[in-house]
């Protein structure tokens, strides 16, 4: 059992990356407009995050240092600072969106406006980060997020035409009535959501929280190769069910309520309940992941003490960063900015900073000073370089495509 629970870090990290609030809606939107034509992007994204999360996990297990810590050592304090500002900003925006997402899930259940739920969600989030053990958080939210499996099962219950779905998945072009720029815009957003920078920072900091040593290299790899594909599969659940239900009738998904609807169509009230529970757990888990990551990156850049394995008084600056980040996120949400649109912008901007995240990891993973004989083999390096090229291409294309399509219009 303990071995089984050891993979919850990977599951939680992946859920926070693949099925956080923005991804749920943008993945479902892609399904409703393009069918399952973007399945290949998910596959490319899953492999990419596995390649880099494996490197980060290995670096952490062998050197017992989180990767963000080493980035400043290898790139110097100036580029490190640019990297810190970029990833902190994205993490903060995502944190705001996730708190909004938790509130939206509660709105679906209660009918009361999400704005009323925002302060409550933020307080519970802060209490969890203040009081609850890291392992407990990771298990509760990693495992209850798996309720989203209901969408995967729904695929079969909705009796789609599998030949048609297969046709869509193997056609690498937009369907009739849609254009190429929007197709690419969606593809970049989905790819960026798979590779969001806070995933690798959270994953490797989580490894330090769990006190990984070189003996935990296998645990780290199991987390990567089980957790991340699982997260990607849950995202596919949203893509496919929206493609089955909404694409044929020409409805564009733009709200959370629409995204979970297919589960209700397949399994009635129980299905809908499970899907909402899953969304709640996934967004709350993502809120924790981003809240902690905000503190991790700042503390690790400056060398401050950090982490939940210390008493809060031993890491006062870290806890202040977490607290202030949550307050900033709440303040942003209370301006009544749409949390879902917020993540869509966030995804495109995160595509822009992705190279800054992944290049240093590739450099560090080749450093014998940290890793001894556990440096990247030729396979890891070939994959690493291929993905770096993809990431740079996505970064260059992101903003022009965003402007050209008017946010995927």
């Amino acid at each position: 059992m303990k071995r089984l629970l050891a993979v919850t870090l990977g599951i939680l990290t992946a859920i926070g990356g693949f099925v956080d609030i923005g991804d749920i809606v943008s993945t479902s939107e892609s399904g409703s407009r393009f069918g399952v034509a973007h399945t290949w992007v998910l596959v490319v994204g899953i492999i990419g995050i596995c390649v880099y999360a494996e490197m980060s996990g290995r670096v952490t297990a062998i050197s017992t240092r989180p990767v963000f810590d080493l980035i400043r050592e290898r790139l110097g304090p100036r580029i490190g600072l640019v990297n810190l500002l970029g990833s902190y900003l994205i993490t903060l925006l995502t944190l705001a969106a996730e708190i909004g997402g938790v509130a939206l899930a509660l709105q679906l259940l209660s009918g009361a406006s999400y704005l009323l739920w925002v302060p409550a969600a933020a307080i519970v989030l802060w209490l969890a980060l203040w009081r609850v053990k890291f392992e407990t958080l990771e298990r509760v939210f990693g495992l209850s997020g798996l309720a989203l499996v209901v969408l995967l099962v729904s695929i079969f219950w909705l009796h789609p035409d599998f030949a048609d779905l297969k046709g869509q998945a193997t056609t690498f072009s937009p369907p009739k009535g849609e254009n190429w720029p929007t197709y690419f815009f969606m593809a970049i957003a989905l790819f960026a959501s798979a590779m969001t920078p806070y995933e690798v920072f959270f994953f490797s900091s989580g490894g330090v929280e769990e006190r990984w040593t070189p003996r935990d290299l296998t645990i780290s790899r199991i987390n990567v190769f089980l957790g991340f594909p699982l997260g990607g599969l849950l995202a596919f659940g949203f893509l496919a069910t929206s493609a089955i239900v909404f694409e044929p009738i020409g409805v564009d998904v733009s709200t959370l309520g629409q995204a979970v609807l297919p589960a209700g169509m397949a399994f009635g009230r129980i299905g809908l309940g499970l899907a909402i529970l899953g969304v709640f757990a996934a967004t709350f888990g993502a809120a924790m992941e981003t809240g902690l990551s905000a503190g991790y990156t700042v503390a690790q850049y400056f060398g401050w003490s950090w982490g939940k394995f210390l008493r809060p008084r031993q890491a006062a600056r870290f806890h202040v960063v977490v607290l202030v980040s949550i307050l900033l996120a709440v303040a942003a949400l209370l301006t009544t900015i749409d949390p879902i649109q917020l993540t869509e912008y966030m995804l495109i901007f995160s595509a822009v900073v992705l190279p800054l995240t992944y290049l240093p990891i590739l450099v560090v993973a080749n450093d014998r000073g940290y890793l001894g004989d556990k440096v990247n083999g030729p396979f890891a390096n070939i994959m690493g370089v291929i993905y770096l090229i993809i990431v740079v291409a996505a970064a260059v294309a992101a903003v022009p495509v965003m402007i050209f399509t008017g946010m995927g219009g």
Partner: protein, 121 residues
């Protein structure tokens, strides 16, 4: 083996003997004859000085205003360094070093006042 200051020391994490972070090696102080490292300098004041320019002056200035008791950056005698690998390990516990001003202030005025601040996570 000689240590390369820029490559092996600068920007590396300093840990106390229990593995708790103490700070980054933001700068080093050389001995008068510049033949060996006399002390590690840590904290935003040392970091700002290395940055230079407007940004550097701003970082140093802010850090100095937070820490009026000290005249220069936080110093850690190089004699306290036990080992250098992926981090710089000290031979003492961090309670024996002067705490960073910001950490001490936040602990006293913010974090320490919240219930549960002294409980292990």
């Amino acid at each position: 083996m000689p240590l390369l200051i820029a490559f092996d020391l600068l920007d590396r994490q300093i840990l106390d003997r229990d593995g708790i972070p103490v700070g980054k090696v933001d700068d080093v102080e050389l001995s008068p004859d510049s033949r060996y490292v006399a002390a590690l300098l840590t904290g935003q004041r040392a970091l700002g000085a290395r940055f230079g320019g407007v940004l550097g002056r701003w970082i140093t200035g802010t850090a100095a205003r937070l820490d009026t008791d000290r005249t220069g950056p936080r110093r850690i005698e190089y004699a306290l360094v036990a080992k250098v690998d992926s981090a710089v390990h000290l031979s003492v516990r961090r309670e024996l070093l002067t705490p960073p001003a910001l950490e001490a202030w936040l602990d006293e005025h913010v974090i320490g006042r919240i219930p549960g601040a002294s409980d292990a996570g």
